[in-house]
């Protein structure tokens, strides 16, 4: 393959030799002997050389299944690898997300990359270093204890050998044992430092690095013509008229799936637009409209009702009173600034290779294979960077659609990037949710019994190896039905992620009403249910604090036992200047806290708002976030994630809701679905709490929930009115204040 886009290693593997060993997790090989549980993803992909290779000429290749989404993961794993191997970080080349070459680490999502991939790399590298040290000891004829390593040079009293001089033989061609302890924090050179991101020089320099920048010889341009509504069947269409349009090479129809291939991009876009506009569709009214969605959810069937927690209070204290509230979160878009893209080439011999920015290259490849009726190993997905996705956007659909178009023109690479309207209107949104809370409190206003029930449609419809999860597969002549999604269970949960409050309430019950009917397409959006659940929990705790006449920070602290949570709340309050803050007309302050998934990073957010009573406009003046991600690998990377998540969450909370009527999605561009601008973005301060030696905790989704609740709490503080339905648009706030 001769791609323009080759310089950065994305295609460096062109001409690679297929590897002889299994890169997929194998549970089969091992019927007899139980094997040790290895750390992180090393447990499923156990071969050392599946992760790390000592190459010629002073280079080391690190192979990882997790992919760069703009979150800085590849920089962080390089830091870990360099430290554990004792080499300069510049020596590391990374291969990531190529299904033919890297460990299958599943999906890059859910804040699992650092705990699973980072931990695996750490232990694999430590073990590789130990093996190299042993080899050097043999070569130098000295005891291994007398050796030290500096940038890959193993140094003894009188002699030295470099990693690259050692005869490796088959030394790394074996499973990890997990018996080599990684380095203590005090000896880290890169871990704990804000090493600059590896991919930013290319991004500020305008070098090709995105899938959108890929140019292959002979490449043509595709575009999809979608129906006017999600539930629609193609009745009739004049394909010949479209074929006559300028530049059009081919019009592709498969059932109700329509696409075009053209010589130029604007020609493909224009032809697809005309195709969509002139085709006749049978359209069904399948939605409730956005205004009625919460009532629909509350009453929806079929639903599974799952009691995820029921802790009975032991004492017999009689509650002094009971408070109740109901919170609502609308559908949100991922809203990637760049619509999803892919470049696919269908080999006439019956295989397809797809350049994609999917978060799940392996499972998406499998789903596409099923859709095309190909064996799984005939679909190769190669990850390249895309615009930030924040969850399951249309990356996988673009990969599938490019493959469908490419199949119609074997041998010709097909480039596809959706239009803005195509992405806005068809991506799987973050689900709307309704959450009802009830608390019985004692005479001091402290919680005795806490109860939360939530209603939500699914948060996970990723491809997962199933063709029916690919949008276009449902419209083909032989359509694939969408599988009924499942909710995630403990400990991470999905719709009910963070639905269990971390507070130490004497009695606590939480119930999930999981609605599998999906009037609106939905899937994983940053934080899944955590954003809405934390919004509800932390708003309600605030309501209880006010009802008790207590300070919201003090009230939280007295209901919490987890010492790291206590510190996170205290640090945010202190950096904000909570105790020194003085109230001014129209101003308010709010605080909120969560530990993401109750297992990942801790984060508390405190912020100040100004509310214009006349217009209802809410302005966030400043925000402070505290964060504890365990042992920090890259402090600036963590700060960037926390601040970015906070700003995105301000945008969701203040402005965002997907509009739809009974038939179609109405939010088709940034005018219909505005997001936070530069002028609306407040200064943000992030206070990092480091825990050297503690496990790495995922960070990317930690600030979404606390931010939403802190904002609503601050608006209450400013106005005395509690807003429980999002977003807090000027219209809604003005109406609430009237």
């Amino acid at each position: 393959m001769n791609a323009t886009f080759g310089r950065r290693g994305f295609l460096k593997g062109a001409g690679y030799v297929a590897l002889a060993f299994a890169l997929v997790p194998d549970e089969v090989a091992n019927a007899q002997a139980p094997r040790a549980v290895l750390p992180g993803d090393l447990n499923s992909v156990r071969r050392l050389d599946a992760w790390i290779r000592i190459e010629a000429a002073g280079r080391v290749t690190l192979l990882v299944g997790k992919v760069e989404l703009g979150q800085g993961i590849l920089t962080a794993v390089a830091q870990i690898c360099a430290d554990e191997l004792d080499i300069d970080i510049e020596r590391i080349d990374i291969v990531s997300g190529d299904t033919a070459r890297v460990p299958n680490e599943g999906v890059t999502a859910g804040s699992f990359s650092m705990p699973n991939c980072g931990t695996a790399v750490r232990h694999a590298a430590a073990e590789v270093r130990a093996i190299l040290l042993d080899l050097a000891a043999q070569k130098l004829g000295v005891p291994v204890e007398t050796l030290s390593v500096e940038d890959g040079r193993v140094v003894g009293a009188n002699a030295a050998a470099s990693y690259w001089d050692l005869a490796l033989g088959q030394a790394l061609e074996r499973e990890a044992t997990g018996t080599v302890a990684p380095k203590p924090a005090a000896r880290h050179r890169y871990i704990g430092r804000s090493v600059p991101r590896r991919d930013l020089p290319a991004k500020v320099g305008g070098a090709p690095i995105f899938v959108q920048d890929l140019r292959l010889p002979g490449m043509l341009y595709g575009q999809i013509a979608r129906p006017p509504a999600p539930v629609a069947t193609l009745a009739s269409v004049d394909l010949a008229a479209i074929e006559r349009l300028p530049g059009v090479v081919k019009v592709v129809r498969d059932g109700s799936f329509l696409g075009v291939i053209a010589r130029r991009r604007e020609q493909a876009n224009a032809a697809a637009a005309q195709l969509a506009a002139t085709a006749q569709w049978k359209v069904e009214k399948s939605m409730s409209g956005d205004a009625a969605i919460f009532d629909w959810l509350r009453a929806a069937k079929p639903a599974r009702d799952i009691e995820i927690m029921n802790k009975q209070r032991a004492d017999g204290a009689v509650p002094a009173k009971t408070l109740e509230a109901r919170y609502m979160r609308p559908y949100h878009m991922h809203g990637s600034i760049g619509p999803s893209a892919a470049v696919a080439t269908y080999d006439p011999a019956g295989s397809v290779s797809i350049h994609t920015h999917s978060q799940s290259v392996f499972e998406t490849g499998e789903a596409i294979a099923k859709m095309l009726g190909l064996p799984r190993d005939k679909v190769r997905c190669l990850h390249g960077q895309g615009s930030g996705c924040y969850g399951h956007n249309m990356a996988d659909d673009a990969a599938a659609d490019a493959a469908l178009l490419a199949r119609a023109m074997p041998g010709t690479p097909i480039y596809l990037q959706y239009t803005r309207e195509g992405e806005h209107g068809w991506e799987p949104y973050g689900s709307a949710m309704v959450i009802e809370t009830r608390a019985a409190v004692d005479a001091a206003g402290d919680v005795l019994d806490w109860n939360l029930e939530l209603w939500s449609t699914p948060h996970g419809t990723r491809p997962g190896g199933e063709a029916g999860n690919l949008l276009s597969a449902r419209y083909l002549e032989k359509p694939f039905a969408m599988p009924t999604p499942a909710n995630g269970g403990p400990p991470n949960y999905a719709a009910d992620r963070n639905a269990i409050a971390l507070y130490d309430f004497p009695g606590q019950r939480a119930v999930t009403h999981f609605v599998t009917d999906m009037p609106v397409r939905v899937s994983s959006t940053r934080g899944l249910g955590a954003y809405a659940n934390v919004f509800a929990i932390e708003s309600f705790v605030d309501e209880l604090a006010h009802a008790a006449g207590a300070d919201p920070v003090a009230y939280r602290l007295r209901h919490m036992k987890d010492p790291r949570a206590l510190e996170a709340i205290a640090v945010a309050a202190e950096k904000f200047g909570w105790s020194k803050w003085t109230k001014r007309e129209g101003r308010g302050r709010g605080i909120a806290f969560a530990r993401y998934k109750n297992t990942a990073a801790y984060c508390a957010v405190a912020l100040e708002v100004e509310v214009q009573k006349r217009t209802g406009a809410v302005r966030v003046l400043r925000a402070v976030a505290s964060n504890d991600s365990g042992h920090m690998v890259n402090p600036d990377g963590i700060a960037n994630q926390i601040e970015g998540g906070l700003i995105q969450s301000l945008s969701w909370t203040l402005k965002e809701q997907v509009r739809f009527d009974d038939t179609r999605i109405l939010s088709r561009d940034w005018a219909d679905y505005p997001i936070l601008t530069f002028s609306e973005t407040p200064p943000v301060e992030v206070a990092l709490i480091d825990r050297p030696g503690a496990p790495f905790l995922g960070t990317g989704e930690a600030s979404q929930g606390p931010t939403g609740a802190a904002l609503a709490n601050a608006v209450f503080d400013a106005t005395g009115v509690r807003f429980r339905r999002l977003p807090l648009t000027p219209e809604r706030v003005r109406a609430g204040l009237a």
Binding site: L69, G205, G247, E643, D669
Partner: protein, 151 residues
């Protein structure tokens, strides 16, 4: 056929009359900086400079640039040799996914040309038409102010 100066060099492209400048740059001339974001002048991802003025290349026909001078990221510096503003973006690590970055840098470059010492508010206002979904706005503002100071 359209001819103009791209980052100081004469270029020509044999393209249809109505071809958008964005696609001509990105697909005919391999200028990888400007990105398609919305095609409707709403997001700024496609921003380039035409005779020094920030221009939404998605809604500008290539023929409108005929005989003019077009600047993309590569005109300010490269990944090996970043220009002042690009270096400031690196120093501040002012990106996450970086899809919006090209448009941000060119929009900010035009501001600094016009106003070498902008206030923070000036920077925010100048960039209000550039959307970032990753939430790097404050880092971008710091980078622009840093470049101004160092200039």
């Amino acid at each position: 056929m359209v001819a103009f100066k791209l980052n100081g060099k004469d270029v020509r492209a044999d393209v249809p009359d109505d071809a958008p400048l964005l696609f001509v740059l990105a697909h005919d001339l391999d200028a990888f900086g400007p990105k398609y974001g919305c095609g409707r002048a709403q997001c700024g991802a496609c921003t380039v400079l035409v005779d020094g003025l920030p221009t939404r290349a998605c809604v500008t026909q290539a023929k409108a640039a005929a005989g003019r001078s077009v600047t993309t990221l590569a005109g300010l510096g490269t990944d090996g040799k970043p220009g002042r503003l690009q270096q400031a973006f690196l120093t501040e690590q002012a990106a996450q996914c970086g899809y919006c970055t090209s448009g941000m840098i060119l929009q900010a470059h035009a501001l600094l040309e016009r106003q070498p010492n902008p206030s923070e508010r000036d920077v925010r206002e100048a960039l209000d038409g550039n959307l970032c979904r990753c939430g790097t706005q404050n880092r971008v503002v710091r980078a622009v102010l840093r470049a101004a100071q160092e200039g």
